[in-house]
């Protein structure tokens, strides 16, 4: 180590001690990647309820993204007294932006998407004033928003972009726009997003998830069931039941897809296989009641309703 004369040594020592005595912002010591609770059942009701609000908010939140230079102030940490709900991610989900806490408007570090890869954004917010909204935009695109920050429980929701990676992938920079009084947290992962239960349906078995081709654990249904599928990535996914019924989904086209096999035998065990390229991530969940009619497929509409759609992927 360098030799130091006593006078300078004393001053430098006091100087560094002064620096080290300052506490880091709580946002750093709280830096947090939510542990992967592999079953997101507890999240479903929250998402089902709040996704509606998120969609409505997104509809009115068309805003021009203000490109910010790197000279913009860094995120101020959320106060510990305003800790927001924890997000959940699957164990195999690729985290694009780890859970980040902040306040006001900031530019988040850029990340790179693979071709066809999608982004799932989860945002929560809380406000000390009447400021109520957090808007999130990416690159030059318009964004979506979460409202309800000023409510006693804060705002919470998520959305999913199916075309963000585009045909060749690329760098994505995220801009968060909020009032300085609004504390927020954000987590960005690749897709797919959580499966939402259609109105009136009941989950029969826990979510299965994976990447590329795989199998869904066997289940037995006492009455008619339907299969919910989410996928993300470049290419299509085909789901095949042990009764040789299949549906094919173009992942870039559908985020939420529901399929009711036509030939069902109550009480007979069913196993499902997923056939997909290795870059496709997926989730499969089985429900009773409230799905498409037997032999039909559907996608989810606003408010949990279903919209009929072909059971095979088209190139359009």
């Amino acid at each position: 180590m360098i030799d130091m004369d006593p006078g300078l040594d004393t001053k430098l020592r006091a100087f560094f001690e002064h620096i080290e005595a300052s506490s880091p912002p709580s946002g750093l010591t709280d830096f947090d990647v939510a542990a992967g609770d592999r079953r997101r059942r507890s999240m479903f009701n929250v998402f089902a309820g709040l996704a509606g609000a998120a969609v409505v908010a997104a509809g009115v939140a068309v805003f021009a993204i203000q490109l910010r230079s790197h000279d913009s102030p860094p995120p101020a940490p959320a106060e510990s007294s305003q800790r927001l709900p924890r997000f959940k991610v699957h164990g195999d989900t690729r985290v694009l932006v780890p859970v980040t806490y902040g306040r006001g408007s900031v530019t988040l570090p850029a990340f790179t998407l693979a071709p066809g890869e999608s982004v799932y954004v989860q945002v929560a917010c809380k406000s000390g004033t009447t400021a109520d909204t957090v808007q999130v935009g990416q690159n030059q695109r318009f964004g979506s928003a979460i409202a309800g920050c000023s409510t006693p429980t804060g705002g919470h929701g998520g959305w999913f972009g199916t075309d963000q990676g585009g045909p060749s992938g690329g760098s994505v920079t995220t801009y968060v726009t909020a009032d300085p009084a609004v504390s927020w947290e954000i987590l960005m992962t690749d897709g797919p997003p959580p499966i939402l239960a259609p109105r009136g349906s009941r989950a029969l078995r826990p979510v299965a998830y994976g990447r590329g081709s795989g199998r869904v654990p066997e289940f037995t249904a006492a009455k008619d069931y339907f299969i919910a599928i989410d996928c993300s990535g470049a290419g299509s996914l085909t789901i095949v039941s042990s009764l040789s019924q299949a549906a094919t989904i173009l992942c870039a086209q559908y985020a939420q897809f529901y399929f009711t096999p036509s030939e069902q035998v109550p009480g007979k065990p069913v196993s499902l296989s997923v056939v997909a390229p290795s870059g496709v991530g997926w989730e499969v969940e089985v429900f009773e009641d409230g799905g498409p009619s037997p032999g039909a497929c559907a996608t989810l509409r606003d408010q949990g309703g279903l919209k009929p759609t072909p059971c095979a992927a088209s190139s359009s």
């Binding site: 180590m1 360098i2 130091m4 004369d5 006078g7 300078l8 001053k11 430098l12 006091a14 100087f15 560094f16 002064h18 620096i19 080290e20 300052s22 506490s23 880091p24 912002p25 946002g27 750093l28 010591t29 830096f31 947090d32 990647v33 939510a34 542990a35 992967g36 230079s69 790197h70 000279d71 102030p73 860094p74 995120p75 940490p77 164990g91 985290v95 932006v97 780890p98 980040t100 570090p109």
Partner: protein, 174 residues
């Protein structure tokens, strides 16, 4: 001397997961923040540097967690981010940094000494600050400093010598 709190690697047999990241990397944030503050002398920039460092660590956690000394990796990333980030801001005409506080204590007051040393320290280049922080304050050898800063040991010695000469001159100790 020194504030190195070496993070321990993931225990044998345990997979590098979110839990091990939170257990190993996140507690190092305080040390990294002090390091970044010592080099950058700006709270916001220091916070940014640590967030960037943890973000890189998270993205590479599979390999970082299996390193023998993840703390050293974190230090190297943080130091390099501080130097490069600040360089960018300076080239854009980043405004001069404020002193430790806005008060102007009387000469001889400990707070006055802090302001004097801070003013002198801010005259150092970022590499000189990094060399002094790592070697003098954190106790790393010149060779280790060279690894963290991505330069030769001789360059580190030069940064140390010039940095200390500037401090002595500014503080009237020469």
């Amino acid at each position: 001397m020194g504030v190195i709190a070496a993070a321990s690697a993931v225990p044998a047999g345990e997979a590098p997961t979110e839990r091990t990241f939170e257990a190993v990397a996140v507690p190092d944030a305080r040390r990294l923040y002090s390091l970044a503050m010592s080099i950058l002398r700006d709270e916001g920039e220091a916070e940014d540097a640590v967030q960037e460092t943890l973000l890189k660590a998270w993205r590479s956690w599979e390999s970082v967690a299996r390193m023998e000394r993840p703390a050293a990796w974190l230090t190297r990333v943080c130091v390099n981010h501080c130097i490069s980030r600040r360089r960018l801001l300076r080239s854009r005409g980043w405004p001069p940094l404020a002193l430790i506080d806005n008060a102007t204590p009387a000469h001889g007051d400990p707070a006055s000494d802090l302001i004097d040393i801070d003013r002198a320290y801010r005259r150092l280049s970022l590499r000189q600050r990094a060399a002094i922080t790592l070697n003098y304050r954190h106790g790393y050898s010149v060779e280790e400093c060279a690894v963290f800063m991505g330069c030769r040991p001789g360059t580190v010695r030069a940064h140390l010598a010039r940095g200390l000469a500037t401090l002595r001159k500014e503080l009237g100790n020469d």
